[in-house]
Point group: C2
């Protein structure tokens, strides 16, 4: 037990993942187990929006079996949002409102599961609480499929989206192998915004030189049409087909997103107006400049919540960072985010550490040059050593009598408003 | 053993599935086990194209472990194609060429795994063989994710694409649940061409009224913009979000595909030119007419080869139809396709039957009215009773030390040409 007693509030933010609920379960189960410190454990409906709207619910009132099932359930089942708070000067009213709600419910511990924007919010909230002398412990729990948070070896959520996309590329690559006489190319678009971690992970599927993906397009490597066309043509000469894995945030040397309409990839040059999606632009380039048929795959949100084939390593680590956040809070740690720390040595082992929220808020971690091959379209052995362990193991999937997964359903009965 | 001795040739055609290799394994293993009847078992590289090009390979020369691994491997690993043969009058030369190659290699048994075009080819080939007195036994093995073959209760390949898409919709539906305050709608496009069987199968994910998919768009039900907008608005009123599952072949009342550019869903009416994909059109309609943000998911080819979460029932039946085809051939059956026959009664049981190739070639089976709900946007309990058993059980997945599936690799060393 800690010297500070009060309620714990746990909230999820930003894009869902396959394992962010594992982190929530780690927080909730740990906090519920320490009734001396935590006089209650609340969830916020739809992240920070739920706090602003005072839409809170009592996690102790949920069925403990459903709380445990969160460990095997995708998406952000506490509820998430994309409500971004700016600086204390600009959005001070929002921060004050949050603390007003915290005070009203005696929330003394805030566990925020999210990416760098969330860490920024948590940091500023802690800062304001200090200013007004409201005793509050804020601890961040890392989450992002993009894997672009600095100061942590990797991010919970990444291993699972990596495993799913590497598998989907392996499978769709065999589809192209079967039908190359008709559908010669395939462009498989993956998430990851400005970081190419997910695109790079599809490279894990390539065990043999002729396996997909033959070309990986990373946002870290500017896309040059002529070079790409050369790469595709060489691939066709070698393998009669070409499977491209494409990050959604790939840009031209001018910094223009491939997925955006207009500019050099407009209707004028390729005969179509490109409507969102880097893959569509890449497909048009292949059909126009190489002259073979290309298809596109774009799993969209389904890739980030593909719990049915998630990484057991990722799920376990996601739970571990949730537990570690509560332990840190009980130990009086404030204003930090839990990190994943990889042990030295050949065998993969991972423990947790802590880093200042402010540092995470402002950091970004692109795929470093040593993980990208000389041609800029593949991954190195160093990347394989880094990412390989993260996709290992199959997360448990509970299957219903109907043959489909069974995921948690929370009651989320709101507690009475006090403000 | 049969009275007719000679080589067996097995070929795959059309779009790959998660389990078409199971059917191939059923044929190959059964034929290899009957050396008295089958003097050899050949595969055709890329379906009928491989026969026309005399690109054949000896399946007895493949590693038996890899042949067995076909049962756990997606796509069409013998090689497929989309080379469509027309009538005997138009394409007689091609049919004659095929029989020339068969004769040269003493191929007396032709097992063709495919959809109705393939059954048409097999039927005509058998007809020409009869005409020229070349003793040849042609047996068809059903395959199509679209599930639109007539005279069979269902088609191998359907159960697996149904299971994957129902699961993906369940998971992506939870993503929309988490983020509805930002991404209010999602349009999840599935394959199926002019039949809505796959779109309908996503309805299996809806265990509770508020579960995705809230609206299913079937090609069998003409898409009327005003009604759709009403449906979305009612859904938003009830659940604050709307998840739409959309068949790729959905059409307007005028018979125009939603996915095609131009017409009433052109740049003029919605501000964008729609580029392929029914989901993009539906998304534009939601954003324009309902005024909320919508996303799209479109797994593309990855959905039909999603072996990592395929149906065990489907995989077992796919193998069974392959075995049954060889048994039928040995019994002297000619010019027929193996069918799946569902036993009466509450418990699901399935055996095989036979039907004339010509009948299958010309039949199509849309989703019947009794499987579609009164509003035209959901499925009935009768559909659930039909499709439910087909997605049950998880097909075995062999996982490598790297945490990713291990699929078969055939050597496919071509035999010497004789023509």
């Amino acid at each position: 037990m800690a010297s500070l007693k009060g309620k714990a509030l746990v909230a999820q933010s930003g894009g869902p993942t396959a394992v962010i609920n594992s982190s929530a379960a780690g927080v909730i189960q740990s906090a519920l187990a320490d009734g001396d410190t935590f006089t209650g454990v609340y969830g916020a409906l739809n992240g920070i929006l739920g706090v602003l709207n005072e839409e809170l619910y009592d996690l102790a009132a949920e069925d403990p079996a459903e709380i445990d099932r969160l460990r095997r359930s995708p998406s952000s089942l506490l509820g998430s949002c994309r409500h971004k708070l700016k600086g204390l000067d600009t959005d001070r009213g929002d921060y004050e409102r949050i603390l007003q709600v915290f005070k009203a419910h005696d929330v003394r511990y805030f566990f925020y599961i999210g990416g760098n924007d969330s860490m920024d919010t948590a940091a500023k909230l802690g800062q304001l609480a200090d200013e007004i002398d409201y005793e509050l412990i804020c601890v961040g729990v890392p989450k992002t499929i993009d894997n672009d948070l600095a100061f942590t070896d990797h991010c919970p959520g990444y291993g699972s989206v990596a495993k799913f996309n590497a598998t989907a590329v392996m499978e769709a690559g065999l589809d192209t192998l079967a039908l190359y006489t008709h559908d010669t190319c395939n462009v498989h678009e993956v998430m990851g915004r400005n970081a190419g971690w997910i695109a790079a992970a599809t490279g894990l599927a390539r065990r043999h030189a002729d396996d997909a993906p033959h070309i990986i397009l990373l946002p870290e490597v500017p896309f040059v049409v002529e070079k790409f066309v050369d790469d595709v043509q060489r691939c066709l000469a070698d393998y009669k087909r070409c499977f491209v894995a494409c990050g959604e945030g790939v840009k031209t040397p001018d910094g223009e997103y491939l997925g955006e309409a207009g500019g050099q990839f407009s209707k004028d040059s390729f005969g179509h107006t490109q409507l969102g999606g880097a893959a569509n632009t890449v497909r048009a380039i292949i059909e126009e400049k190489v002259g073979v048929k290309a298809r596109t795959n774009r799993a969209g949100t389904a890739q980030r919540v593909a719990m049915h084939f998630a990484s057991a390593t990722d799920a376990a680590e996601a739970y571990m960072v949730g537990q570690a956040a509560v332990q840190a809070a009980v130990d009086g740690v404030h204003g930090k985010m839990v990190t994943l720390v990889r042990a030295d040595g050949d065998e993969y082992r991972c423990t947790t550490g802590l880093v200042e929220l402010e540092k995470v808020a402002n950091g970004e971690k692109p795929v470093p040059p040593e993980f990208i091959d000389a041609n800029g379209t593949g991954v190195t052995d160093a990347f394989r050593r880094y990412a390989g362990p993260l996709v290992r193991g199959e997360a448990e999937v509970e299957i219903g009598a109907d043959g489909l997964p069974v995921y948690a359903r929370l009651a989320q009965r709101l507690v009475e408003k006090k403000t």
